[in-house]
Every structure is written in structure tokens, then in C-alpha cells.
Subunit: 293 residues, 2 copies
């Protein structure tokens, strides 16, 4: 996905947000904004890939803040909030013993809704317990774009590219379903801390590796999948996959520039630009299969 | 008022907003954003005055768009929307024949509420007729900061610095009250089109000059009052005034850097940064007298 003019101020607003998470030093916050403005000014281009510019911006931000993970505490809070909602989600997913297709659809729906666990964009307040009510309402509504039936025969070699903390605990229900249906799963997490994205740290903390066949990383803390920083084992796995599941917006922003497939984009269209790029409205729950004959 | 990190992305978002008002040409919009980013990168400084940087940014925006008034149509719509609400406002102000102090307070309150007529910040939709309901609710609530009683003896030579179109039609009720109380009014409007601010064009269109003793301009299309671009007659008038009434946020952002007084800032704290600078909460109706012994 190419950069929209809107991305300029959205990214700067996120830089400000994460600077405040990292420090109370107003001078350092101003310096961070200024240096990120310079990076934006240098790399802004309507032909640039949005998440690629975002990677440069956020790396500069972390560098100036001298903080390799401004979201460290936030990620813990998100995981705690997600854990609270998980039992209700599981109950809804397994309610009345659904058939395989319906079970997969519900698990996917829950993991798409969990894409809301993103403090930077939503200003989500874990302490208010609003998420359970929002979750149940969105679950009732269902998927707005539902290509899950087309995915049912494609589980032989699944590459599952994770997005945020919190969300990953719901992804684990999808792993259970795919494994139950005889599939193989290679989970891909970020190679280093960036935003609220899942890294090997959370894989260990929640023993996620026990739910899948293999865990590999994107090779760096790039936002989404930056092909030039991706290890060969990831690129090979994506080429050989029977199905790539790409969670969230940043993975879409980067992978939509390439032709890997079949690829299922599972996300909430939280951002107007991503929604437009997909030809969809903002605020939808999406499981869209692409590059599939 | 000094620039806050927040101002960077807020200004860029407004540049995008006004670019879309001016053109459908996506390439031109991207070029405009890019050139404004460069200006922001050059002038961003925690010690810079926010409205002064905003002036540079918006002038660059208008220059790249080759449009000296992107808000031309919007301003007409705002005036139409304001005219619709005006009769209800007048009825509330004059209801039950208030005494002079109460009459002035109510007129000021109405003109402060009318500071909402600002499409760029509020995304206000004139077609939805939501403003009358909002107006009546805010009128019922009253002023959150009310220094109007202290202003009652200061009407001999009033300098009234206008802000937005639409709002000016409510300011005219304040003019009526000040004139009724024997005051003299010099109205100050922008020297050229900028955002949705009042210029001599609206003064002529609505015969505003008939309500006041004199109309002068800020000497340029600067946002707020940029002293270095202000004509001598404006500076002299401000020095000699018994009361300066400064409407809206941009006039506050610039004049709060100087010591003119007595000065009454009449505004809604629509922006978090202006609210903080005034030591107030966001979303308040304010008539605050400063630099008064």
C-alpha cells in the first residue's frame, strides 16, 4: 500500500503518543518529534510504501528516545486485558458445537475483533473493561468480508503472520482449530520490539510455540514484513505456503506490494487509508482471500 | 503561546483538509503536503509561536495550491448556517429584559459559542442543523470563565479583534450592547483571506461597519495578530484601548506573547494546547480578562 497524505500526520501523532509513553521530559519529546519530522520530510512520497516509511520514523523515534521498547509496559497491560476477555470469547466460539467451517469462521472472527487491541490507534483503556462489551457486539455482528469457506482446503502449510499483543491470545484459538483440521502452522512474529507487536518474548511468556509447528521471525523490528530485511527461511516458507494468513494493517500495507498467495488478510479496517486501499468501508471486520485462482 | 508537539500533526491535518477543499488533484494534494512538511521541518521549534508557524505553513499551502482562498465556498456556507441560528440566539439573549451586566454576559456567551463555526477543527456540518441544538445547550450551561462583570466599566475605547465568519454575526450582538452602553468600537479583521477568518469582504456583505465606529485590518493574512505585519494604526489603537476583546484561539496564540491590556480573551478551548496554556480544561466557554490591574 502506498502512502496517503493522511499517513504523515497519523504517524507523527503516534510518535508523540509513544514518546509520552517513554518519557516525561518535554525537551526530549520535542526533539523526538523534530527528528521524526525530518525523517518524514526526507522520505514522504506518494509512491513510498506507508509501513516502510513508518519503520524509518519509529526507528528514529526509538533512537532519539534511547528506548528500544516504549510500549513495554503497555504490552503487558494489553495482554492482561486480553486474558480477561478470552473465556467469554471461547464460550461464544464453541457454543452449540459448531461444524468445522463455522468453528473456523468464529475463531477467525474473534481474532479479527482482537485486532482492536492497539492502544496507539484506539486509545483503548484496558482498565475500563469496555472491551468485553465491544467484543460481544462485534462477534454478534459477524465478519463483513468472509472468505473463510474458501480457506477450508488450504491448511496443509499455513504461514500465520502475527500482529499485536493481546490479539495473539485470540490467534491461539485459530491455531487450535487449524491443528484440529490437520493443518501445519508456521507462526511469524517480529524480530524485535516495535509498537505493540508480538515478539519471541510473548511467544515464550504464553507458550505459543506449543500451539504451532514452528515459530520464525521477520528478521528485524520492521513494521509489517519488509522483504529486504526478511530472512530466507521466511521468504521460502511464504513461497511454499498453501495459505498465508496475514493479521492486521501493517502486514497488509507491506505484503499488498507483493504477489504472495493464496493470502488471507484478516483485519479490522481501523484506518481510512487501509480501508480505501482494500476498496472497503472503515470499521469492518475482514477475512479476505487474495491471489487465489 | 509556544508551539506544542501536537501542533505539528494538527497543522498538517488542516493543510490536508483545506487542500481537499481546493482541489481533487491527488498529485497536487501530495505536493502541497510535502512542501508544508518541509516548512514545518524548517520552523518547528518548541520556542516558536504556534500561530506564527501556522501562518508560514498555510501560506505555503495556498501558494502550492495556487488558491488564495480555499475556504471561499465554506465561508459562505458557515455564514448561511449562522444566519439560521441567529434569531434563536437573539431571543435567548434578550429574554425577560436582562439588566446591562446580564445582557452583556449573554451576548458574550453567544459570541463565544459561535466560535464553534470553524469547519477546519470541528468538521461541522452546516446542513445537519445540529448547531442550533448545540448552541442552546451551551447557552444554558453558561460561561465557564466569566470575567464580564470586570469589563463593564471599560467600554470607552474597545478594540474588538474578530475571528471566524459565522461567529462575526454573533459578535454584532455584542457590538449592539457595547454601543447601547455608550462604548466606542474599533473592529479588527484580517487583511486578507486565511482559513475561515473574517475579512473586509464579510464586513461589506453584512454591513458590519454600520455597527461599529471604525474597521481596520491586521495588515495581512497572518493567522492571529502578527505584530511585525500589523499596521501602525492597529498597534496604536491597541496601546490606547480601554479594553481589547480578542476572539478565538489564533488571536490568543499570538497576543499572549505580548503585554497589551486590559485584554479579554473570549473563546472556546477547542484545542488541548490552548486550554493547557490558559490553565483550563478543554471544551470550556471562556471570557477571561488579563493584564488588568
Amino acid at each position: 500500500m502506498k502512502m496517503n497524505p493522511r499517513c504523515t500526520y497519523c504517524m507523527l501523532s503516534r510518535v508523540h503518543f509513544e514518546s509520552k509513553l517513554s518519557t516525561d521530559d518535554e525537551d526530549l519529546i520535542c526533539k523526538t518529534i523534530h527528528e521524526c519530522l525530518a525523517v518524514m520530510n526526507k522520505y514522504y512520497d506518494p509512491e513510498a510504501v506507508s509501513a516502510s516509511v513508518a519503520t524509518k520514523i519509529h526507528r528514529k523515534c526509538y533512537e532519539v528516545l534511547e528506548d528500544d521498547d516504549p510500549y513495554a509496559v503497555t504490552k503487558k497491560l494489553i495482554s492482561q486485558a486480553a486474558l480477561k476477555v478470552l473465556p467469554a470469547a471461547k464460550e461464544k466460539i464453541y457454543e452449540n458445537s459448531p461444524d468445522d467451517g463455522e468453528l473456523f469462521r468464529r475463531a477467525v472472527l474473534a481474532s479479527v475483533i482482537a485486532n482492536y487491541f492497539d492502544f496507539g490507534i484506539m486509545g483503548f483503556d484496558a482498565s475500563e473493561d469496555k472491551f468485553e462489551a465491544a467484543f460481544l457486539k462485534l462477534f454478534e455482528h459477524g465478519l463483513d468480508v468472509d472468505d473463510t469457506p474458501k480457506m477450508m482446503g488450504l491448511f496443509k502449510d499455513v504461514i500465520y503472520i502475527a500482529d499485536n499483543c493481546g490479539e495473539i491470545l485470540f490467534d491461539m484459538i485459530v491455531f487450535d482449530v487449524i491443528k484440529k483440521l490437520g493443518g501445519n502452522i508456521t507462526l511469524v512474529v517480529r524480530g524485535g520490539p516495535i509498537l505493540t507487536d508480538v515478539t519471541m518474548e510473548e511467544v515464550k511468556e504464553f507458550e505459543i510455540d506449543k500451539k504451532v509447528d514452528r515459530v520464525i521471525t521477520t528478521g528485524s523490528n520492521a513494521i509489517g514484513i519488509l522483504i529486504e530485511e526478511a530472512p530466507a527461511e521466511l521468504l521460502d516458507a511464504m513461497k511454499d505456503a498453501t495459505l498465508i494468513i496475514s493479521k492486521g494493517m501493517a502486514n497488509y500495507e507491506t505484503l499488498s506490494e507483493h504477489n504472495f498467495g493464496p493470502i488471507a488478510y484478516m483485519l479490522l479496517t481501523k484506518c481510512e487509508c487501509v480501508a480505501e486501499d482494500l476498496g472497503l468501508e472503515q470499521g469492518l471486520s475482514v477475512a479476505k482471500l487474495m491471489n487465489f485462482p
